[in-house]
Amino acid sequence: MFQSFIKKFFVLFSLVLPFYAQAQINVFTCEPEWAALTQALGGGNVAVTSATTAMQDPHHIQARPSLISKVRQADFLVCTGAGLEEGWLPLLLRKSGNPNVQLGQIGQFMAANYTQLLEKPTILDRSQGHIHSAGNPHFHLDPARIISIAPALTDALINVDPANQLQYQTNLALFTQQWQQAMKRWKQISQPLQGKRVVVSHNNWGYLLRWLGMERIATLEPLPGVPPSSAHLSKLLAKQKQIPADMILNASYQNARPARWLSEHASIPIATLPLSPSVNESLFQWFDRLLNQILSAK
């Protein structure tokens, strides 16, 4: 009786199994911007998951069980690199036991390897705060860099999944065209921002400010990763009176208290900006939203 039940179970199981056969490439991305880019280039051939959301600081993520599982099942891994994930990604890679996504394998794609980084520190020492030796890793905020990384990402996807090469190339052509059109549009609507001066909470906005022609005149953090003391904030306020800024930029995952303090005392608006796309949001929608937040900061 039990034996026949077991037999029936296995028959059913084997019937169901083909429907669960992997048709899609499992892609593990560290940040939502790469999830959005991979989704745009991969289309229906990829099942993309992001380790972090726009509300999380990508520097401080725990190498927790759910992420170990995700890396274990991944066929392709897309992350920023440049030391941004050094606190948690190496641990995930080691614990996962997944040969496809290890350092140097075709299944690992570090975006930082395909673009030039700015703001390389001249002094490499912990006394300078939490610095990235390779340069500022938040380069996804520069639309021009997105368009230059996309072809490399497509090539990597094709390496992992050669069968769908034509689709990936088509997706790339479409994405490139749409992104270039969007870039022209963004340049137009961001004209009023040229030359505006900003105070930033943390120095993640460098690439975006350059692209928009805006100028960073102060950072709330005295050193990267060190929260500002009230003494430091008072100094910034005094400096504000001499060289006033037009607005404060604060990432949506950041502690807003220092920014709010300066905003109230100096009477300048805060723009709370998403450093990354939301879940299921495309790069186009995200950048539109980002620009609107800056333009409408009051």
């Binding site: 509300m55 190498a63 050094e86 890679l93 036991g97 040969p99 290890q102």
Partner: protein, 466 residues
């Protein structure tokens, strides 16, 4: 008359001629002005045309340079550029932990005991006043494309002399495939949740009482660990350890695996903000020979009576961990709840070494258990507070109750308890200052302990486990 006439004619001629002259002059001037105007207009036109040309040229130049920069960015980084995930090119990653403390204890730390548990290994309260904690050197690197290696060397003070303790020295596979990872060498066992964490990552200045009682703070051994992670969305890990069985709380030489561990961990996320992990573990060492521990001594240290256990030992353990952070971002605020339970049963013989012929001995049927629960709450950036409660119990039986008492295995009717509270300031990821208060009722005389501790690390600092 003639003069007047002549003057008049002259004046008239002059006037007429001057007018005529003036007319011609004016004409001339007008002509000149006109010519000038035409000239300048032409020149302005030329200048404008040139300006337009120049502007166009600059525009084209900027576009060309932008395209050039874009094109240059498309170039893949030269292969000689070191990978940005590796540290120090081919040098290993080196981290040195510096730890020191000031301890204020009501009771003499030498009097410390845990009734029902024969203490061994590192267990103890440390010294009063200023002392150095453990300085730890951690060296790690990828060995080649298949393996990763790590060693942890601890330096600590023991009664004035510095002891070097090779805590870890293992190699581990990198991406073996099918969710398998092999680890070989000396490593902290995967039993329990806290056991695999280095002391400098602990949330309190001391180990939970049950770790002190069973493992002498932390259990490590030499051997092989096999870990398998299932291809499921919920984290499921199964593993086995085959160990030498030569380290406390096992002991002696064994053919084959003197101690084995079986462990299973399940974990996952609940939404964005919550994560959890549950572990079940089993450890056994059969045929332990001569596991010695601290006990009561009579007189001289060199021939102190030392209890020595031989027999079989089994531990069942369970651990539960839960973490929460607003929006899943632990940077500013986060909460961790942690609970572990251990149950050990032992069967064999306890002999009191150096108790003079004939040496005292007793049959031993040991049953020891204990648990702890702690909560750590980071309430604002750089600040966290914690609370922990420990409770132990034992019920050890033997043929000779006196020998049992000598060995420290008589529970004296007590259930050792302790409550700890701590406040920590973490100015960066690399430094921490902690203030901790323990109300310790491990043995008959309760103790109030205050610790002020600093823990810092130098060098590349890899991530910590969940």
């Amino acid at each position: 008359m003639r003069f007047a006439y002549r003057t008049a004619v002259l004046t008239a001629t002059l006037l007429i001629s001057s007018t005529a002259l003036a007319d011609t002059e004016i004409e001339l001037i007008k002509q000149q002005l006109q010519a000038l105007q035409v000239n300048y207009e032409q020149r302005i036109k030329n200048l404008e045309a040139r300006l337009l040309k120049a502007e166009k040229a600059t525009q084209e130049a900027t576009v060309a340079s932008q395209e050039a920069t874009l094109a240059s960015q498309k170039i893949v980084a030269p292969p000689s550029q070191p990978s940005l995930l590796a540290q120090n090119n081919f040098n290993p990653a080196i981290t040195l932990t510096l730890d020191g403390r000031f301890a204020s204890l009501d009771n003499d730390p030498d009097d410390y005991e845990l009734p029902g548990f024969a203490l061994g290994g590192e267990s103890g309260l440390g010294s009063q006043g200023f002392s150095l904690g453990e300085s730890e050197l951690l060296i790690s690197s990828n060995i080649d494309n298949n393996l990763y290696g790590q060693a942890t060397i601890g330096f600590h003070d023991d009664d004035g002399s510095t002891e070097v303790d090779l805590e870890e020295a293992f190699i581990q596979t990198l991406g073996l495939g099918k969710g398998l990872t092999l680890k070989a060498g000396r490593f902290f066992s995967a039993i329990g949740y806290l056991n695999e964490q280095h002391a400098h990552a602990w949330d309190f200045a001391d180990a939970p009482l049950i770790y002190r009682g069973l493992f002498g703070d932390q259990f490590k051994d030499d051997g092989l660990q096999v870990s398998y992670i299932a291809p499921t969305d919920t984290f499921l890990q199964l593993g086995v350890e085959l160990l030498s069985g030569g380290s406390f709380p096992a002991g002696g030489d064994h053919e084959g695996a003197g101690a084995t561990t079986i462990f299973a961990n399940v974990g996952g996320d609940i939404g964005i903000e919550h994560s959890w992990q549950v572990g079940l573990n089993y450890w056994q060492s059969n045929d332990i020979e001569g596991r010695t521990s601290g006990g009561h001594s009579h007189g001289d240290e060199s021939d102190a009576e030392t209890p020595s256990f031989s027999g079989d030992s089994q531990i069942y353990a369970m651990d539960v961990v839960y973490k929460w952070a607003p929006n899943g971002n632990p940077t500013n605020q986060n909460l961790k709840l942690q609970f572990e339970y251990f149950d050990r049963s032992e069967d064999g013989e306890v002999e009191m070494l150096n108790s003079g012929p004939p040496s005292e001995s007793t049959s031993y049927d040991g049953s020891q258990q204990g648990w702890y629960a702690q909560a750590i709450y980071q309430f604002k950036p750089q600040w966290s507070a914690g609370l922990r409660y420990d409770q132990l119990g034992s019920d050890n039986k033997g043929s000779d109750s006196d020998a049992l008492a000598e060995a420290g295995l008589d529970n004296e009717g007590l259930k050792p308890k302790r409550i700890s509270a701590m406040l920590a300031w973490l100015p960066s990821e690399f430094s921490r200052i902690r203030l901790q208060y323990n109300h310790d009722k491990s043995y008959g005389q309760s103790d109030n302990q205050i610790f002020l501790q600093y823990t810092t690390s130098i060098g590349s600092h890899g991530g910590h486990q969940y």
